[in-house]
């Protein structure tokens, strides 16, 4: 079964003014779709033909890893947003964030800094480590923390294609906007 582009749970203009319809059209419709197409072209005849994306992320290298991980990363990223959801965590995740970072405000500050300072293309992640604690990590290009035994909770795409039409060189402005479209009900379920 070839991989397919998962449906978005909101309209492409639903995240405006924080992320424009134009950005979603390219980011989801072109970039995410291209990773799906590329992976489907790359895996026939390899040992990854029947593999899950998780297996590909843990075991593959080169183009199969890059495209497989980028499908997973983009799906996880787009699923984190909604036009109207709780903009702060609650329950167990809120407690865990407070335990690991002092407060939600401190966590936002550290996650923003990690996203803004990642040099080049890549992803900032909030992950749960094997010992249960939370940590913020940077991954270059298609990197995904599943490969290192971590559980992803939240990610921010800092490839320039994620924000260049809306914010150009101003990555900090994109990060500021990012917090206004996260749906913490969805994110909490991952924890």
């Amino acid at each position: 079964m070839p991989f397919e582009l998962p449906k978005l749970s909101y309209a492409p203009d639903a995240l405006q003014p924080y992320i424009s319809k134009q950005t979603i059209d390219f980011h989801y419709g072109k970039h995410h779709q291209a990773y799906v197409n590329n992976l489907n072209n790359l895996i026939p005849g390899t040992r990854f033909e029947q593999a899950t994306l998780d297996q590909i992320i843990k075991e593959a290298d080169g183009g199969i890893f890059n495209n497989g991980a980028q499908i997973w990363n983009h799906t996880f990223y787009f699923e984190s947003f909604s036009p109207a959801g709780p903009r702060e965590p609650s329950g167990q995740l809120a407690t865990a964030i407070a335990n690991s970072f002092g407060s939600f405000g401190n966590f936002k500050e550290q996650f923003t800094k990690s996203s803004v300072t990642l040099f080049g293309s890549g992803w900032a992640w909030l992950v749960r480590k094997p010992d249960g604690s939370l940590e913020i990590v940077q991954e270059p290009n298609a990197g995904n923390p599943l490969r290192n035994g971590m559980v992803p909770i939240l990610t921010c795409d800092v490839w320039e294609h994620a924000y260049y039409l809306d914010y150009q060189n101003r990555r900090p402005d994109y990060l500021q906007a990012f917090w206004n479209i996260l749906d913490w009900e969805i994110i909490s379920k991952r924890f």
Partner: protein, 198 residues
């Protein structure tokens, strides 16, 4: 001595329609300027202030990562602006054309391999034509690394470079990096590339 943004040899709109004025302006005044500011901050108060940019590049493996990233960014963009011109395109001349024919078979085969190096650089980076000893080679580097750096996988003197960070083409070409790389050939300054080859 603090590094400064070098003057552009042409107007922001001069490379239209291949590279649009808005991209040129943001790329030059924001991205390039930021690399210079960050580089100056990274070397301030150290003996790195007394070194040339080329000296920083060739010894970069022993320097802070901020010098690698921002010094590379300054070097690469400075080169990039000079290897483009509104009167560009066409064919290289003289020794450089001979060398390209000799090493790549033909100018078209060279273009194909160079574009391919740009297309297949995953993430941010640069594609290069370099002189390595007596050889001409095509290579690509991640992020703001370049072939002058002692940590580069393939080292040499850059003759031609193209920026494949998305900021170099996203406003005009979005996800179509292939179209940007095709357009690049219309603005290549072969005279400057020829000087760098000598």
């Amino acid at each position: 001595m603090a590094f400064e943004l070098p003057k552009l040899g042409y107007e922001y709109a001069a490379l239209e329609p291949h590279i649009d004025a808005r991209t040129m302006e943001i790329h030059y005044t924001k991205h390039h300027q930021a690399y210079i500011n960050n580089l100056n901050n990274a070397i301030a108060g150290t003996d790195m202030e007394n070194r040339t940019l080329a000296e920083l590049m060739t010894g970069v493996s022993k320097l802070p990562v901020a010098v690698r990233n921002n010094g590379g960014g300054h070097f690469n963009h400075t080169l990039f602006w000079t290897v483009m011109t509104p009167n560009g395109g066409g064919l290289p001349k003289g020794d450089l054309l001979d060398a390209i024919n000799r090493y790549f078979g033909s100018f078209d085969k060279f273009k194909e391999q160079f574009s391919n190096a740009g297309m297949t650089r995953f993430g941010s980076g640069w594609a290069w034509l370099i002189k390595a000893g007596d050889d001409l080679k095509i290579t690509s580097t991640p992020n703001q690394d370049n072939p002058l750096m002692d940590l580069a996988e393939t080292k040499g003197t850059p003759i031609l470079g193209v920026d494949v960070w998305e900021h170099a083409y996203y406003l005009k070409y979005q996800n179509r990096r292939n179209e940007y790389l095709a357009a690049f050939w219309n603005v290549v300054n072969w005279e400057e590339a020829g000087r760098r080859f000598k």
